[in-house]
C-alpha cells in the first residue's frame, strides 16, 4: 500500500475518531454538556489528534529512512571490482534504482509477474530491451550484479512497505483507542488539545530555525572544502578574478567582486538615502492627512516591483540615457550601457521606499510632546524637524539605512542586467563591474564540475556575503533597539 493511501486511511480514522470521541464524551454525562470539563468538540479533537499525529510521524520517518537503509544494504552486495571511489558507487546505485523502478513499471503494465521478475536472469533475457518496451530507457546493458541488486532492492522495498503499513496502522489504532478510552466527562480535553497546539507552534518555529542552521552549516562545510582546494589567502587578498585562467593558472580573488559590491551599494545609498529621507520628512511632517493617505501607498508600490523589472529598466532606459551624456558622443567616460552608475542608480530607486517607509515610521514614533515643546519655544516647523525631530529619530534612521544597505549588498538581478559581468578594480563609476552575487550566479550556472574550485568558490562568496549582511543587520538591530529604550 502506498504512503498516499495510508495517509488517507489515517485521515479517515481521525475523522471517525472526532465524531466518536465527541459523542462518547456527551453520552458519558447523559447528554448534559454542562457536566463536561471541556466543550464537546475538544474531546473529538483529542481523539482525532492522537489517532493522526503519532501515525503520521511514524509514516514520515519511515518514508525517509527506509530507502536510505535499503540502498546502503544493497550497495554492500555490489562487487568491489566494479567501482573505484564513492562517486562511481553512487552512479551504480542510481542504475540499480532505475532498474528496480523499471521492473516495478513492468509489473504494473502486466508484462511480467512478480515471480518472473525475481527469476529474471541477464543470460536468458535482454533486460534492457524488456525495460525499453515498457518505456524505461537504460543507458547500457544491465550488468548481472546490478540486476541482482535491483531484484534485492525490490524485494526489500516490498517487504519494508508491508511492514510500514502494519506499523503505521497499529500506531493510528493505538492512539485512537487510547484517546477514546480516556474520553470521559472529567477528562481535561481542552488542556490536552491546547498542549497539542503548542507543540505544533514549537515545531513551526524550530523548522524555521533549523533550516537557517542547516543553510549556514552547508555554507560553512562547502567553504571549508573550497579552502582545501584553493588557498584562503589567494581568495581573500587576490586582486584578480578570472576563473578560467589560461595555462591552468586560476585567479579567484574576491577583492574585485567585493569592491564592485560595495561601490554599487554606495552609489545606490547615495541615491536612496537623501531622496527617501526627504520623502519621509515630507510625508510625516508636512503632508496633509489626505496627501499622506494617497502618497504613502503609491511610494510603497515601488517596493512591490520585482527586481528583474528594475533590471530591465536599467538595461533599456537608464543605461542608454547615461551613455548619451557620458558615452563616446558626450564626455567619453563610458564605454557601454552597463556600468556601476547604471546599476547603482536603479538600485537606489528600488531602495527609496525601503528607506522612506522605515524612516517615516520612526519619525512618527517621535513623541508629539517633542514637537509641541519646540513650537512652544517659537521654533518654525523646519527648525523643529531639523533640530528636534531628526536628532531624536536619528538612531532609528541609521538602522533603516543599514537595513537598506544590506539589501543593496544582496541584490543580484539589477547587477546582472545593469552592471555587466567584468570583475574589475577601478574607480571610474562609468566602468562595468560586477558583484559577489552576480558571480555566484555565473559560477553555478556554467557546466563546470560541481566538486571543482570554480563551483565551490560560490559557497565561499556566499559565506562572505552572508557575514557582511549579517553584520550589518546585527548592527542595525542593535541601534534600533537602543533607540527604542529611550521612549518606553
Amino acid at each position: 500500500m502506498s504512503a498516499f493511501w495510508l495517509l488517507m486511511i489515517i485521515l479517515a480514522l481521525a475523522a471517525v475518531g472526532f465524531i466518536l470521541g465527541r459523542s462518547r464524551a456527551i453520552s458519558s454525562v447523559q447528554g448534559d454538556r454542562r457536566q463536561l470539563h471541556s466543550l464537546p468538540n475538544y474531546y473529538g479533537f483529542n481523539v482525532a489528534m492522537l489517532a493522526f499525529v503519532p501515525a503520521v510521524l511514524v509514516l514520515g520517518a519511515w518514508v525517509i529512512i527506509q530507502p536510505m537503509m535499503i540502498s546502503s544494504q544493497v550497495s554492500t552486495h555490489i562487487p568491489a571490482a566494479l567501482y573505484e571511489d564513492a562517486g562511481q558507487l553512487n552512479l551504480i546505485m542510481s542504475d540499480v534504482k532505475r532498474v528496480a523502478e523499471g521492473l516495478d513499471v513492468a509489473i504494473a503494465q502486466g508484462v511480467m509477474t512478480a515471480d518472473e521478475v525475481s527469476q529474471l536472469d541477464t543470460e536468458t533475457t535482454d533486460v534492457r530491451a524488456v525495460l525499453g518496451n515498457v518505456g524505461v530507457a537504460l543507458g547500457s546493458d544491465v550488468d548481472p550484479s546490478v540486476l541482482k541488486a535491483a531484484q534485492e532492492m525490490r524485494a526489500k522495498t516490498t517487504s519494508g512497505n508491508l511492514f510500514m503499513t502494519i506499523v503505521v496502522l497499529i500506531a493510528a489504532a493505538a492512539g485512537f483507542v487510547m484517546a477514546f478510552m480516556q474520553t470521559h466527562g472529567d477528562f481535561r480535553a481542552r488542556n490536552a488539545v491546547e498542549g497539542g497546539v503548542k507543540a505544533l507552534l514549537i515545531a513551526a518555529a524550530s523548522i524555521a530555525i533549523l533550516t537557517t542552521i542547516g543553510i549556514v552549516l552547508s555554507l560553512i562545510f562547502n567553504t571549508i572544502s573550497f579552502f582545501g582546494m584553493f588557498p584562503a589567502s589567494d581568495f581573500l587578498f587576490g586582486l584578480t578574478w578570472s576563473p578560467e585562467g589560461r595555462g591552468g593558472s586560476e585567479h579567484l580573488g574576491i577583492l574585485p567582486l567585493l569592491w564592485g559590491t560595495i561601490y554599487i551599494s554606495i552609489v545606490a545609498l547615495l541615491v536612496a538615502v537623501p531622496i527617501g529621507l526627504f520623502a519621509a520628512v515630507y510625508l510625516s511632517e508636512y503632508a496633509s492627512r489626505t496627501t499622506r493617505a494617497f502618497a504613502k501607498p503609491l511610494l510603497e508600490v515601488l517596493a512591490g516591483i520585482p527586481t528583474i523589472v528594475y533590471g530591465l529598466f536599467a538595461l533599456t532606459v537608464v543605461g542608454p540615457l547615461l551613455v548619451n551624456f557620458f558615452g563616446a558622443d558626450g564626455l567619453g567616460w563610458m564605454q557601454g550601457a552597463r556600468s556601476v552608475m547604471t546599476a547603482g542608480l536603479v538600485m537606489g530607486i528600488m531602495l527609496i521606499p525601503f528607506v522612506s517607509s522605515l524612516s517615516d515610521d520612526i519619525i512618527n514614533a517621535v513623541p508629539q510632546a517633542m514637537r509641541d515643546g519646540s513650537y512652544g519655544l517659537g521654533a518654525t516647523q523646519s527648525e523643529t524637524v531639523k533640530q528636534v525631530v531628526l536628532p531624536a529619530a536619528l538612531p532609528g534612521i541609521v538602522g533603516a539605512i543599514l537595513l537598506a544597505a544590506s539589501r543593496a549588498i544582496g541584490e543580484t538581478m539589477i547587477v546582472v542586467m545593469g552592471a555587466g559581468a567584468a570583475a574589475r578594480l577601478d574607480l571610474n563609476p562609468f566602468e562595468a563591474m560586477t558583484t559577489v552575487t552576480a558571480k555566484i550566479v555565473s559560477q553555478l550556472t556554467g557546466d563546470s564540475d560541481f566538486a571543482s574550485p570554480e563551483a565551490l568558490v560560490a559557497f565561499a562568496l556566499g559565506m562572505t556575503l552572508f557575514l557582511l549582511t549579517l553584520g550589518l543587520n546585527v548592527l542595525a538591530l542593535y541601534i534600533v533597539r537602543k533607540y527604542r529604550e529611550q521612549y518606553e
Partner: protein, 265 residues
C-alpha cells in the same frame, strides 16, 4: 468727567496683558469653548480650574496659537496681547510663541544635553552674540528654573537623564530662556511628586516678578496657593473669574461653590 473715565480705563488697560473677548473654539463639530472673555493681568499668576474636559487647556493653547498645529481646530473671537490681535493675519505664530512661552503637562526635554536644551530657544531667535553670552543666558535661565545647583556640573549630560521634577524645571528654564512676556503652564505639576511640586510652585511665585503666568491646574489647593486670580471653567463656559481669595471664600456662582467644595467635578 468723561475724559477721566477714559484715562482711567486706559490705565487699567495697560495692566492687562492679554484680553480675550467672546472666544469660541470648535473641534470639527464640537463646540469646545463657548463665548469666553477673560482679562489676564501682567505680573500676576492666573489659574484656570475646572473638571476634566471643560476646555481650560484648550483655551490656554489658544493664547499662543498652539491649536494651529491641530488641523480640525477653529478659533473665533478676539484675543489681544498688549492690545494687538494675535489671530490677525499679519501676526506670525512663530514670533508670537517666542513671546508667549509654554510649559507642558509632561516634562518634554529634547534628547539633547542640558545645555543644548536651554540654548535651543536663544539660538533659534539669535538672542546671543557669542558663546560667552549664550553661556550667560543658559546659567541665568537655569538659576531662574531653580535647577542650576543640581546640574551645573553636568551641563553636557543628556536632559532626558534627569528625574521627573528636574526635567520639568529644566523645561521651565528652557521656556524662560527666550525671555517671554507671558508663560503658559498646562498642569505643570501633574506628573510630579509633592516635593518637586513644591519646588515648581515656589518657582512660579518667583516668576511672577517678571512675567504674567497662566496656569491650568486640577488641584484647587495649588490654585489657591500660587494664583492671585482664578477662572473657573465648566463645560466650555467661563463660569466665574475673580480674585483667587474671593473665588475660594465667597464664590458668586453656585456651580463654582459646588466644584471647590468637591460636590461636582
Amino acid at each position: 468727567m468723561n475724559d477721566m473715565t477714559k484715562i482711567e480705563r486706559a490705565l487699567e488697560m495697560k495692566d492687562m496683558k492679554i484680553s480675550a473677548k467672546n472666544v469660541q473654539v470648535y473641534y470639527g463639530d464640537t463646540h469646545a469653548i463657548k463665548d469666553v472673555s477673560v482679562e489676564i493681568e501682567d505680573k500676576t499668576v492666573t489659574a484656570f480650574i475646572g473638571p476634566s474636559g471643560c476646555g481650560k487647556s484648550t483655551f490656554l493653547r489658544c493664547l499662543n496659537r498652539m491649536n494651529d498645529t491641530i488641523d480640525i481646530c477653529r478659533v473665533e473671537g478676539d484675543i489681544l496681547l498688549d492690545g494687538e490681535d494675535i489671530y490677525d493675519k499679519r501676526v506670525d505664530p512663530v514670533q508670537l510663541r517666542a513671546k508667549v512661552g509654554m510649559v507642558f503637562q509632561k516634562p518634554n526635554p529634547f534628547p539633547k544635553s542640558i545645555y543644548d536644551n536651554i540654548a535651543y530657544g536663544p539660538r533659534i531667535h539669535g538672542l546671543a552674540r557669542n558663546k560667552a553670552e549664550l553661556d550667560e543666558i543658559v546659567e541665568k535661565s537655569l538659576r531662574r528654573g531653580a535647577i542650576w545647583d543640581e546640574v551645573k556640573d553636568r551641563l553636557h549630560a543628556p536632559g532626558t537623564g534627569l528625574s521627573g521634577g528636574q526635567q520639568q524645571r529644566l523645561c521651565i528654564a528652557r521656556a524662560v530662556a527666550t525671555e517671554p512676556e507671558v508663560l503658559l503652564m498646562d498642569e505643570p505639576c501633574s506628573a510630579l511628586d509633592p516635593i518637586a511640586t513644591a519646588q515648581v510652585e515656589e518657582l512660579i511665585d518667583e516668576l511672577r516678578q517678571s512675567y504674567s503666568v497662566v496656569i491650568v491646574t486640577h488641584s484647587m489647593q495649588q490654585a489657591a496657593r500660587v494664583s492671585q486670580k482664578t477662572a473657573f471653567f465648566h463645560l466650555g463656559n467661563l463660569v466665574e473669574y475673580d480674585d483667587t481669595t474671593k473665588i475660594f471664600t465667597n464664590p458668586e456662582d453656585p456651580r463654582t461653590e459646588s466644584y471647590i467644595t468637591g460636590r461636582i467635578g
